[in-house]
């Protein structure tokens, strides 16, 4: 969409720098957004993209020091006092945040919270029913936030943001916390509303795929600097800056798995049913709802199996059951015939979780953390053997044996996820459960961790269950995929076949909603 070059941009940042407690976080950021334009700000975590948005809104913490110029609709904003900035917010510029679950006041109805935007700017009260309808919510305004799902709450936040038809809407990772299907609906909604109202949209995302078919221009940020700005098509086709190139390469990266080589049956799940809550009480609460219903499947030796589904479909509960952490209401899970919660079975199955920061006891050193699974061995190995297995595991994941003496804070998120894999490898298991194991990682780090997994599959002949909500990742590291919905497995097919010919409506919905690769 070409724009008149002569007209002054709606928003103009020039050499904007932000420091908190003397630490520079934004350095000479300059960017323009024209009226009605959609501009994406992208970069990895810590690139300063959210900070740029907060600076524009005037929502930086009070101790932040800001310099440069920030012009909006011809007005210089930085010299303005807080009441004048507040008068602009919600009226002429508004913002949508990443985490819809906590963005709303739990003690007020959604109607009260939407109406407040108008009341605070002395505008006539909104037609709540019409506004809720416009954001696709068929709910009475008297509902409280806790009665709504994450996607519904995000629609409420969007309703607040568009209520007064502001000139600029800033959306800070508005879909990251949501399911794929919800994600695409929210993006379409944002796109439509901004077009209808003629608002400009500043879209902040770490995922280029999300904005590829939506943004007019893309601004790439790294470590507080703007490294490249270009129209979307140009940037995707011919990135100029080395950082942008590496980012795009990582997004397009496809991990090469060694050829499929499966052996005999390793794990067998039969009619697995899990219900919440299991607690006994004097006065019973509502009857338990099954989280997983009659699920049966096998994992063979060396097989790389995927498990996908939206959040709440029961895949995490099932993963916990496979690890022997979740009592079953019915059915059984066995590993080579041994019940899953026995020591014999535990020795052969290990796990890597999503959160690289929560996966390790922050009080222990790497050696102690990595040695923990050795607890499962029948005979406590000698110190030398322990050191040798730790050194081997560290080397296998691309770290140094010297890292064993370090504390966990010394490692970045990607390195921690390597450590988590190293810990899973220490007792040489045959099966690893990877529960959203790369979901929290930046795209370049993710590509490296996936390559590492492929490498380990070749070296150790590992089998894994790769659980993710992200279809593109699952596609590149699995031979076969299970699709879960409402506690049941609705499709079970070879990876290529599933992506080429999805049979079940849920699978098709998931595939349709997934952002296309760049």
């Amino acid at each position: 969409m070409p724009h008149a070059e002569a007209a002054a941009p709606l928003l103009s940042l020039r050499d904007l720098s932000v420091a908190i407690r003397g630490r520079g976080l934004l350095h000479d950021v300059s960017l323009d957004i024209a009226a009605g334009e959609v501009v994406a700000l992208t970069g990895e975590s810590g690139s300063g993209k959210s900070l740029t948005a907060l600076a524009t809104m005037g929502l930086l913490p009070t101790r932040a020091q800001i310099s440069g110029t920030l012009r909006f609709a011809g007005q210089d904003l930085l010299p303005l006092a807080e009441p004048q900035r507040a008068a602009l917010r919600g009226r002429h510029m508004s913002m949508i945040f990443q985490e819809p679950m906590t963005a709303l006041n739990p003690l007020q109805t959604i109607g009260q919270q939407i109406a407040e935007v108008c009341a605070i700017h002395r505008a006539p009260p909104p037609d709540l029913a019409a506004l809720l309808d416009r954001v696709g919510l068929d709910l009475p305004p008297s509902r409280y936030p806790h009665e709504l799902s994450g996607g519904q709450r995000q629609r409420v936040v969007i309703a607040m943001a568009v209520a007064l038809r502001p000139k600029l809407i800033i959306a800070d990772e508005p879909t990251t916390a949501l399911d794929v299907t919800t994600q695409s609906q929210i993006l379409t909604l944002l796109k439509d509303l901004t077009r209808q109202h003629g608002s400009a949209l500043m879209m902040i995302t770490h995922d280029l795929a999300v904005v590829a078919d939506m943004a007019d221009r893309i601004v790439v940020m790294n470590k507080g600097h703007v490294v490249e700005t270009a129209p979307t098509a140009t940037l995707l086709a011919a990135p100029q800056h080395a950082y942008t190139q590496s980012l795009l390469a990582a997004s397009a990266h496809r991990t090469k798995l060694p050829p499929r080589a499966v052996g005999s049956r390793l794990l067998a799940a039969r009619d697995v049913t899990i219900t919440y809550p299991a607690a006994r009480r004097l006065l019973r609460g509502p009857a338990p709802v099954p989280a997983v219903q009659k699920v049966s499947f096998d994992i063979r030796k060396g097989e790389r199996l995927g498990l996908v589904g939206e959040s709440g479909c029961g895949k995490s509960t099932l993963a916990r059951a496979l690890l022997g952490l979740q009592p079953l209401a019915e059915g059984e899970i066995t590993l080579d015939g041994a019940a899953i919660n026995t020591r014999a079975a535990r020795q052969r199955i290990q796990v890597v979780f999503q959160d690289p920061y929560g996966s390790f006891n922050p009080r222990h050193r790497v050696r102690r953390l990595l040695a923990e699974p050795l607890h499962l061995l029948d005979h406590r190995p000698s110190r030398r053997d322990v050191d040798a297995s730790i050194a081997r595991a560290l080397t296998d994941v691309g770290l140094s044996p010297d890292d064993a003496e370090k504390h966990i804070h010394a490692f970045s998120g990607g390195q921690r996820q390597r450590l988590a894999i190293a810990r899973a490898l220490v007792i040489s298991p045959e099966l690893i459960v990877l529960d959203e194991a790369v979901s929290a990682l930046d795209v370049r780090v993710r590509a490296k961790v996936l390559d590492l997994l492929a490498d380990l599959s070749a070296k150790r002949g590992l089998a894994w269950l790769f659980i993710s909500h992200d279809l593109s990742v699952v596609r590149s590291v699995t031979d076969r995929v299970l699709v879960m919905d409402k506690g049941q497995i609705v499709e079970d097919a070879a990876t290529q076949a599933l992506f080429d010919r999805p049979a079940h409506p849920v699978t098709r919905r998931l595939l349709a909603a997934a952002p296309r690769g760049v």
Partner: protein, 271 residues
């Protein structure tokens, strides 16, 4: 280190040092009464003056500090020693009958303020310093049990605990190896808070005669004795009171300072 933390440490160490010194030396022997010297104001001979029996107030305060510290310390020890394991057990058995029983039990004890416990014990066994220790200590148990349970529950949800469970470790072992070390900061801070509350409670109990009995010197007792003399010699009431205030203030500053230095997000119980 913040200035508040330093001030807190100085005040606390001064009181501890005074109490320790009294084990070997005090300026005067407080068992000797000297009626001619009674109710003197502060002077070179008696830095903080004398009481109605002519005893040196500084010496009394040093000995009283020993009582206060001993009572508060043992009470915190009882509270943490019983409460922390209970809290850990409740968290490990979350939602089960043991958890329910421990929670209801601590609710029940919370309904008996330490003064009421002291009244009951005194009614049965007579007043003594042991009585004060028990009363404050029993009341401390649910404080630590609730705190520990509340702080342990989110740790149980952390992924490294799930991982430890897949390594075949039992609830008891996980509680000791993984949960407890992640609660130490919080427990240290809560201990200083309960310690300062213990000093206040001991003073209150001995003021109404439910704590340490004469001749054991205690700050609350000194204030009770001073009450009728307040018009004649205000320093007899002012000085022990100020000592309590400075001691408690020092401990609170120490607790707050430690919390800010260790982790400002720690959620302690203040009541």
């Amino acid at each position: 280190m913040s200035r508040a933390l330093i001030l807190g440490m100085v005040l606390t160490l001064t009181v501890l040092a005074g109490a320790a010194l009294s084990l070997v030396w005090t300026p005067y022997d407080i068992t000797q009464m000297s009626i001619p010297d009674r109710l003197q104001g502060p002077s070179g001979a008696h830095w903080l003056g004398t009481d109605h029996f002519g005893r040196d107030i500084l010496s009394m305060l040093m000995l009283g500090a020993r009582t206060s510290i001993a009572v508060a310390l043992v009470a915190v020890g009882i509270g943490a020693g019983v409460g922390v394991p209970l809290g850990l057990t409740a968290a490990a058995r979350r939602g089960g009958l043991v958890d329910e029983a421990i929670s209801r039990l601590s609710d029940l004890v919370f309904a008996f303020p330490s003064l009421v416990i002291a009244i009951l014990i005194t009614a049965s066994f007579g007043a003594s310093a042991l009585n004060a220790i028990l009363a404050i200590g029993i009341f401390n148990i649910p404080v630590f049990a609730r705190l520990t349970r509340g702080a342990a529950l989110p740790v149980w949800q952390r992924e490294f605990i799930l991982a430890a469970r897949t390594f075949g470790k039992g609830a008891g072992r996980i509680s000791v190896e993984h949960i407890l070390p992640n609660l130490t900061n919080l427990l240290i801070v809560q201990c200083t808070i309960q310690f300062s509350l213990g000093i206040l409670a001991e003073a209150g109990l001995s003021y109404v005669g439910l704590g340490a009995q004469p001749p054991t010197p205690s700050w609350g007792r000194m204030l009770a004795d001073a009450q009728t003399l307040v018009t004649l010699a205000p320093h007899v009431a002012l000085i022990p009171g100020l000592t309590i205030v400075l001691t408690v203030l020092g401990l609170n500053l120490l607790g707050d300072g430690l919390r800010d230095a260790l982790d400002p997000r720690l959620k302690v119980i203040r009541a």
